[in-house]
């Protein structure tokens, strides 16, 4: 590019800067892990949310307690597109170590707020720089010494409030929520914010086009993360025993159980617990306790991530073949091994479907938003007890730990399904009992719970071969008969699972299949594709085994792109296994580097795949 071209481009940039861009930008806050910027970032997200603007807040954090770089991405978008964006429009640069790199990720003509102790780089003449005299502002606010660093983060909130025209009252109310109404904390932080805002008003003439504006707000909507929603779903599903072992990004799910259960599930008369949450010594014990509890009839669950799933493999096989209801949440992260422990992925699809050795096929639920985490949280128990099988719920770090605008949680609309459990009276009437005997042809054999007061109730649970009376057997015909019944049972699971969500456009020959947290990126990419004249239909898988709707969807389209965040296209492979005759219609598009899927990549991937297809 010649110098004159650069000049022209700059001029164009300046001209564009004059046109206001309202409620549509991505803001990245670059800080140091452990510096307490989370409060500031959440206050911003919550203020946007309460101004009625669709927003998401994603924390890209290192596997580290304190000291490494952290980025918090806030995207506001009036149309509701809140997927990840790779290039930011606005940058708040608070980390000296990453300043230059962070600037590289700022889009052409972007805006940079920075601590004025950092040196303004010369190589980004296109960027609009706003230096903030952070130290002076903090000195002026003069917070207590031990809170200095935390309060300092409020300075950029104050400057942003002024420059982006964020409603000051919503910032205050966000902090009020954050600090649970503790007025001194709110006042301390608001002092810093107001001071910084006032300084910006006097010293920073606005040169950029970005600002926010209040929108009509859907009062029903929630700002919440998926793990919180999942924990509440489990509580409303009547979880009684939850055993877990700390692991990022699943820990907050169990911690949220611990937070809400004492209030929601203590006996009103005695104050005693109708639940037990047990922090186990490892994931082997975590699932073992859940299996023990599920066996005696409790609604039992565990929550973990990939490494924990690997350890749970043996017990998952036992629970499957011994037909013990348990619920297992897998909040996925990058693997294999320690991988990128604080980054998101969808890499556990295949391992969960077949977890354990020999013949296993597990039931999976796949939520894509917090309200679905809540719903699948309680439904999972009904399915597990009805079908007497482990039910896995597949979430991921992006969905589990980041802030999403969600539909409200729907109170369960059906009574709990406790499955086929025989009481002493039932046994008396039956006169005979075989634990694995199919009485009514659906493959589900009624069970008895330990402690049932009847001489016929007892049976011996085992992972070894057994006949229909649960007696040890190595006979080939007993094994065959049991597997035949088991597979018949699992075939019936299909229709009881959440149906796929299908969204169509007129005259679309092209289909897209995806699942889980990529949903916002897919929806946004489809609009870009449509703008380019490419209509697409979209099917979002919400459960495995697959519904027949998925087969019909593949049939109906010339080509179906299966978009997912793992390298080998695991969902693509499962679909091909399920319908080999349709395999050639399925094209795998994958991206897996720890960063949540974005619409630009998705758009480009589908567009160029389409181009190639038409060239052939």
């Amino acid at each position: 590019m010649s110098k004159s071209q650069v000049k022209q481009k700059e001029a164009a940039g300046e001209a564009e800067a004059q046109r206001p861009i309202v409620n549509d930008f991505t803001l990245v806050v670059a800080t140091v892990n452990g510096s307490g910027s989370q409060t500031s970032n959440l206050a911003l997200v919550r203020a946007f949310f309460r101004m009625g603007i669709p927003v998401c807040g994603k924390n890209l954090f290192p596997s580290n307690i304190q000291g490494l770089p952290t980025w918090y991405t806030i995207r506001v978008n009036a149309k509701g597109y809140t997927a990840n964006k790779l290039k930011a429009d606005l940058l708040v640069a608070m980390n000296m170590a990453t300043f230059r790199d962070d600037l590289q990720d700022l889009k052409q003509g972007g805006v940079c707020f920075y601590d004025d102790r950092l040196a303004e780089p010369a190589d980004r003449p296109d960027v609009i720089f706003y230096p903030i005299p952070l130290r002076d502002l903090v000195n002026e606010a003069d917070p207590p010494k031990q809170l200095r660093e935390y309060v300092a983060n409020m300075a950029y909130v104050g400057v942003l409030t002024e420059i982006l025209q964020i409603d000051n009252e919503e910032i205050r109310s966000a902090l009020d929520t954050h600090f649970g109404g503790r007025e001194t904390s709110v006042a301390l932080n608001m002092k810093m914010i107001d001071l910084a805002a006032s300084w910006a008003r006097d010293n920073l003439p606005k040169r950029d086009p970005y600002r926010v504006e209040r929108m009509p707000r859907d009062e029903e909507h929630l700002l919440v993360d998926g793990n919180t929603a999942a924990a509440l779903g489990a509580i409303y599903g009547g979880v009684t025993v939850a055993s877990w072992y700390p692991i990022t990004p699943a820990s907050s799910l169990a911690e949220t159980l611990e937070y809400y259960l004492p209030h929601l599930r203590s006996d009103p008369e005695t104050g005693k617990a109708t639940y037990a949450v047990v922090q186990a010594e490892d994931e082997l014990a975590a699932i073992g306790m859940a299996v023990g509890a599920g066996w005696v009839g409790a609604r039992a669950m565990t929550s973990t991530s990939g490494p924990g799933i690997s350890l749970m493999s043996e017990f998952a096989g036992l629970a499957f073949i011994a037909e013990i209801p348990i619920v297992i949440w897998d909040v996925q992260r990058m693997g294999p091994s320690t991988g990128l422990p604080t980054r998101t992925s969808q890499g556990d699809v295949l391992i969960l479907r077949f977890l354990s050795h020999g013949d296993t096929r597990h039931t999976l639920l796949i939520p894509a938003a917090p309200h679905e985490c809540f719903e699948f949280g309680w439904r999972a128990f009904d399915l597990a007890e009805r079908f007497q099988t482990p039910v896995f719920v597949l979430s991921d770090l992006d969905l589990g730990m980041n802030q999403w605008v969600s539909k409200p949680f729907q109170y369960p609309d059906v009574d709990m399904d406790r499955g086929k459990v025989l009481s002493a009276e039932d046994l008396e009437k039956l006169g005979d009992f075989g634990r694995y005997r199919d009485i009514d042809g659906d493959g589900i054999a009624p069970r008895t719970l330990p402690g049932t007061d009847h001489p016929l109730a007892a049976f011996f649970t085992r992972g070894t071969g057994h006949d229909e009376r649960a007696i040890y057997s190595e006979k080939a015909q007993d094994w065959d008969a049991n597997i035949e019944r088991l597979w018949r049972k699992l075939e019936n699971v299909r229709d009881a699972l959440p149906a796929p969500v299908v969204q169509r456009m007129d005259h679309a020959d092209v289909g897209i299949i995806a699942f889980g947290s990529t949903d916002p990126a897919i929806l946004e990419a489809r609009e870009y594709l449509s703008d380019e004249g490419l209509a697409t239909d979209y099917l979002r898988i919400r459960a495995i085994p697959f519904s027949e709707t998925v087969e019909d969807f593949i049939q109906e389209h010339e080509v179906v792109y299966v978009v997912e965040m793992n390298t080998d296209g695991q969902m693509h492979q499962l679909l091909q296994l399920e319908w080999p005759a349709l395999a050639t219609k399925l094209v795998s598009l994958t991206k897996n580097n720890g960063v949540p899927l974005d619409a630009d990549w998705t758009f480009e991937a589908v567009r160029s795949a389409e181009e190639q297809r038409h060239e052939r």
Partner: protein
């Protein structure tokens, strides 16, 4: 099982849990009217923990072996005792892997010879010592060749309210029964050294024993039944944890199989009590107790708006 019969424990209220191995097959041989669970190798304690917390009214009996407990399951064994899960944990200890046909286990003697494996170079793990270190409140050792003592200890264990560990030296006649092995039948017969004469007495019985004063120690268990320990030649104080460790160390060095109740401590909270559970078994709770109200959900959601 005679002990349960004598205690009139209703079999329907008992669960028998095991891991994998020869020992783990035992639960199929007794009390056919009790639910049983042959779990995975070394993981019986976690199943027992989950089952016990989910239904506190069940009497849990775990049966394990030295491979199951001292090797693959040592972690879960320790953590079970740490939580004081109410159950009887029986180890059928023979110092050898039988089901896989004769490998050394972690309780095998140093220098012990096995046909297939040669000489064992490693020091053994003493499971009673591990139990003491893990603060287990009921630690006992017995010998399969002394069925009377086994039965009395078992009855005592079944009346203990926390985790009760009973390490029973149980010779494997197929793979580890050479006379020089401390897990052999003949060695046990010759070297057994009962610490005391143990008798368990139900709460409603008078003690019927001819005794000299000062010769017995009587301990009341939480359910008012009693343990009567009649002193033999050794004067072992079962309430002294350090003395119990010393006893194990000394008798091991002297190549003596000390049997009986090694340690008893009833002052530790059980897991159920720590978890502050309702009296009704969690597994029996229904929707009315398990599903909070719609209003409560509305209140929670208000915090997210």
């Amino acid at each position: 099982m005679a002990a349960c019969y004598e205690l009139s424990i209703q079999p329907e209220n008992v669960i028998k849990i095991s891991g994998i191995g020869c020992s783990s097959k035992s639960p199929t041989y007794f009390m056919g009217r009790s639910h049983g669970f042959n779990a995975v190798h070394g993981r019986m304690p976690s199943i027992a923990t989950g089952a016990s917390i989910a239904n506190r009214s069940l009497k849990t009996i775990g049966v394990s072996g030295d491979g199951d407990t001292a090797s693959i399951g040592i972690g879960q064994f320790i953590h079970l005792m740490r939580r004081n899960v109410p159950m009887v944990y029986i180890i059928e200890n023979n110092g050898v892997y039988g089901l896989t046909k004769g490998q050394f286990s972690a309780t095998a003697d140093q220098g012990q010879k096995l046909k297939k494996m040669g000489v064992n170079p490693f020091m053994p793990i003493d499971l009673c010592m591990e139990a003491l270190i893990a603060n287990c409140g009921f630690v006992a050792r017995s010998f399969a060749g002394d069925p009377k003592q086994v039965k009395e200890l078992l009855k005592s264990a079944l009346n203990f309210q926390g985790t009760a560990v009973l390490d029973i030296i149980s010779p494997c006649v197929t793979f580890n029964n050479r006379d020089e092995s401390t897990k052999s039948y003949s060695w046990g017969i010759e070297h057994e050294y009962p610490l005391h004469d143990v008798t368990w007495v139900p709460s409603y019985d008078e003690i019927e024993m001819e005794i000299e004063p000062g010769e017995i120690v009587e301990v009341e268990l939480h359910n008012k039944s009693r343990l009567v320990l009649k002193k033999l030649e050794h004067n072992h104080d079962t309430s002294d944890r350090l003395a119990a460790m010393q006893l194990l160390e000394e008798t091991c060095c002297a190549e003596i199989l000390a049997t009986g109740l090694i340690y008893l401590n009833q002052n530790q909270e059980t897991f159920q009590s720590v978890e502050n559970l309702v009296d009704k078994p969690l597994a029996r709770l229904q929707q009315d107790a398990l599903r909070p109200s719609k209003e409560a959900l509305e209140e929670i959601m208000a915090d997210f708006r």
